[in-house]
């Protein structure tokens, strides 16, 4: 009987710690994605500002209540604005932000391509020598040899 009780007890401890672990992992991921509004280029994870500690507590409480990451993010965005997300949303407003770098890379490729093509186009083949030039060249070479 006691072994059964012990077993059940152990099971509870283990399942509890597993639950705590998954909660911690979810919280850790969220802390990394959220901005501390006091020291604005740090994430909540890196920040020890009082507000950051409060926000971490809010996040942890909500995770323990079983809320999803998106629900928690929405809660904070509704109060602090999208600025609180360190990683901007994929939305129409942010399209330039996300595609801008690719756009500039493509512009760069295009410019390089045009530049290189122009350079190779203007690389003119030397004209063949005229008869006159040929003769004078021959003369010079002959003179040197003798």
């Amino acid at each position: 009987m006691t072994t059964i009780i012990k077993f059940i007890f152990c099971f509870f401890i283990i399942s509890n710690s597993v639950l705590a672990d998954t909660n911690n992992k979810a919280a850790y991921e969220l802390y990394k994605e959220l901005r501390c509004l006091v020291c604005q280029n740090q994430s909540l994870l890196e920040s020890n500002a009082p507000l950051a500690l409060d926000l971490k507590k809010v996040v942890m409480d909500k995770i323990e209540l079983g809320q999803s990451k998106n629900e928690i993010k929405k809660f904070l965005v509704d109060r602090y604005g999208e600025f609180i997300l360190l990683k901007p949303k994929y939305s129409i407003q942010n399209i330039l932000l996300w595609l801008g770098p690719i756009l500039f890379l493509l512009i760069g490729f295009f410019v390089t391509f045009v530049f290189l093509r122009k350079q190779s186009m203007y690389k003119e083949e030397p004209l063949p020598l005229t008869n006159e030039e040929e003769n004078s060249l021959k003369k010079i070479l002959d003179n040197n040899v003798s």
């Binding site: 509004l37 006091v38 507000l51 109060r79 604005g81 600025f83």
Partner: protein, 186 residues
């Protein structure tokens, strides 16, 4: 034609430089603080918050803000916050000289310290609620005390001021908005 184009290309660094100058000049001239966040709650209902009592002072709730007689201010302050002491005289002035109703939210403060400050410096607030663990103010999107919200008759947030209200802020920003709200339904 080809030469002209080359001529133009040689100016690209200058053009890029001028664009950058314009970009930086804008920030310099406007003197906006880029770390100041716009509130997402502008023109939204004041979020529901539950505040506790500060002994000896009237406490307030969302009910006070809805269907009010006129615009009001909600000021988040604390006894440990130095800029709050700076803006205190302007809060007093708005309360006494302009008859503006100011609600105070005492943010993450020791209640005794808060009471001491009010005794010592005077009380500009019509009613005060305490938010001791700071969780209620998160609903307001508060990220730095002091912050001040202007609320219209219907309990909608019309403006948020981050940082202390100085003379310029009071005369050029807060009072004009309040006057504008006052005239809205006349």
């Amino acid at each position: 034609m080809k030469n002209k184009l080359k001529y133009f290309y040689s100016y690209t660094p200058l053009i890029v430089f001028l664009i950058l100058v314009l970009f930086f000049a804008r920030q310099l001239i406007l003197k906006e603080d880029p770390s100041e966040l716009p509130s997402v709650l502008i023109d939204e209902k004041f979020p529901s918050i539950i505040l506790s009592e500060l002994v000896g002072y009237k406490v307030f709730s969302n009910k006070n803000l809805i269907n009010a007689n006129g615009p009001s201010l909600v000021n988040i302050w604390s006894s440990w916050c130095v800029p709050c002491k700076v803006e205190h005289e302007y809060l007093m002035s708005m309360s006494n000289n302009y008859n503006i109703i100011i609600y105070g939210i005492n943010y993450k403060d020791n209640k005794e310290d808060a009471l001491k400050v009010l005794d010592l410096n005077g009380n500009p607030f019509y009613a005060i609620g305490a938010d001791q663990d700071g969780m209620q103010s998160i609903n307001l999107g508060v990220y730095g005390v002091p912050e001040t919200f202007i609320i219209d008759r219907d309990g909608n947030i019309r403006y948020r001021h981050v940082g202390p209200i100085l003379e310029y802020d009071m005369e050029k920003i807060i009072l004009p908005i309040i006057n504008k709200i006052k005239q809205e339904r006349l």
